[in-house]
């Protein structure tokens, strides 16, 4: 069974803090993605990766960076958290045409 896990379900951080969101998949997929979900805006792609140490900017990469040191792990980094980064963050891995999502991390930046 496909499994994508995210390190935290809920996080509360202060403005200016560095935030790490971890995602792990156990399906040996090459493609992994980070999205944020906001009401009325759907799923917006932040960054994605097609292989280890490879990364590509999505539609809204500003204020974020990523790391893919191992195939199964894709990390999203908020270098200096801001209140407009309060959101639901979703990680996904892809096989063929389908993406499999983790449970999401709800981040609140105060």
């Amino acid at each position: 069974d496909v499994k994508v896990t995210q390190s935290s379900r809920y996080l509360v951080k202060r403005t200016g803090e560095k935030v790490f969101l971890e995602c792990v998949q156990d399906m040996d997929h090459e493609n992994m993605f980070w999205y944020r979900q906001d009401p009325g805006l759907g799923l917006r792609l932040i960054y994605f990766s097609y292989d280890v140490k490879m990364k590509e900017k999505g539609d809204i990469p500003e204020g974020y960076s990523v790391s893919r040191e191992k195939k199964e792990r894709f990390s999203l980094i908020l270098e200096s958290a801001s209140t407009n980064q309060t959101s639901m963050y979703l990680c996904a891995s892809q096989e063929g045409r389908s993406q499999y999502f983790g449970p999401g991390t709800r981040l609140l930046v105060l």
Binding site: Y35, L43, Y50, F101
Partner: protein, 112 residues
Amino acid sequence: DQQVKQNSPSLSVQEGRISILNCDYTNSMFDYFLWYKKYPAEGPTFLISISSIKDKNEDGRFTVFLNKSAKHLSLHIVPSQPGDSAVYFCAATRWEGNKLVFGAGTILRVKS
């Protein structure tokens, strides 16, 4: 530039009736379309998909219709059940392995 649009933010349907969720796209290069369902505090889960070489795909209570000339697809749920209440996202992609482009989502409420 929104390439995938779901123009209805929400839809309310009586239990047992049909739910029809709509999706429009602008990029004629899209050749594969997917529907995802999302409950609050959970990640989206894959529901059903359709290739551009077909105009219909059915899986139990769920059917997706594709009208390429109108660049329009719809998801039909028959009969609707209270457990179908969720956010439904339409997504499109151009070729295998490429990223998905998602719509804004439609909140479906099925009333019992």
